[in-house]
Symmetry: D2
Subunit: 138 residues, 4 copies
């Protein structure tokens, strides 16, 4: 769906932090309520000066961004992050860090999203995040 | 303790991602096993182009970094992050984002750290993270 | 404060599941917004038939109950649990499983509580839970 | 696979707490590394004396048990729970509480399991848990 992918791209462009991180809209599956967002490797995203490995903080930031985007596609109002949970499975080594956001439940007050992160063809992190759909963060 | 603060500063300087984020060593309380790490506000850390508000991904990255540093002060080997959990309480508005890492338990295979993040004099996020002390991430 | 402790005891008596688990009101610190709830060991709470060790599911249930009670003392309406997070630090060995609920933030839509669980004089688990203060669970 | 289902049933019978909770082996999918465990409703599992609704503590206990069982099918040594995370989506109303454990990664030091809980044909909770495969809990 072209419109949804354009909407995702527009959503990802807005925050100043994204101008630096450069998350890219990869895919939107309207039927399955899934979204794909990727970040291309560059040295300043790295944990280690001698290896191309994404920093854990970058992985966490991408989990937040991809989860937020998954909710934003179906919501007109801003939905602040209320909680973020990341399990790190493997070092995130690869040219691209790809996050797949999967909407698990859009509730009246909170939306829950699962986020799976892969790099170099391997699953490197499992995320689960919640976003407020009532406008209140606290 | 001067040496511990120097060690924290050196720890924070190493990863290329930190060269961009610029986390600063603020304090080390050896007795209480607590560490303070801060990031100064600048527009590219922001979520919103019209307000000085730290992006949730930046908050999560600082939670990871401060937690890691709390463990690293007392460990000689690298301790990869295994899990990260952040609760966002309020918008992170302020000139400085300050994370206090509190070592909760240094175990044989895993270290647990609580991380409290404040901005503008208010508690804005609660973090809890685990780090592998056996060397294995998975 | 006698009234608050009575209120806690009454709160803990109500659910049928509690008739079996028998959580006991131990303390209420109104100033610090902290609550103490304990469960006395008996074999059917055990993980192991040969050792007096509380089952992890019992620890999780007590974390939920103590967190809920911490919110309930200051709320008139029911506040359903929205998320529960438990870190298990050590085997829960002892005559009594004691949970201390600490209110971290009572928000308009969500309350956050930290819960520390000890047994045999040792910290055995760290809990963090969220409760809906808007009435909606989802 | 008959043997795996028998092994699951035997695993679930052992702890004294289970004699009371009565988790039942429902299914083992060896190929997909998934396990099904259910608890039948009875009043003492309830949160509310006027409605057949499973207590959140019972849901959390079943998440722990189903996750543990998912790991135990493929492990010979005990694997203590190190962390448990439950998101509550809806009230757990129904005759049966069914947990599906899905092995996400069996690592050298830690196993990660997703657990989806349903009741009355609806998804009521999302669980994610970690188990130590090195023998050490802390």
């Amino acid at each position: 769906m072209k419109n949804a992918l354009d909407k995702l791209a527009a959503e990802l462009e807005r925050p100043p932090f994204h101008t630096w991180l450069r998350p890219r809209a990869k895919s939107v599956d309207v039927e399955r309520e899934e979204v794909g967002v990727a970040v291309i490797y560059r040295p300043e995203l790295s944990y280690d000066s001698s290896r191309a490995i994404f920093h854990g903080g970058v992985v966490a930031a991408l989990v937040d961004i991809a989860g937020y985007a998954t909710v934003a596609i179906w919501q007109k109002v801003p939905t602040p992050t209320t909680a973020l949970h990341v399990e790190y499975l493997r070092p995130a080594i690869g040219d691209e860090l790809l996050a797949r956001g999967i909407l698990r439940r859009m509730g009246r007050s909170v939306a829950r999203v699962d986020i799976e992160v892969s790099a170099g063809g391997k699953l490197v992190a499992l995320g689960r995040a919640t976003y407020s759909t009532s406008g209140a963060q606290g």
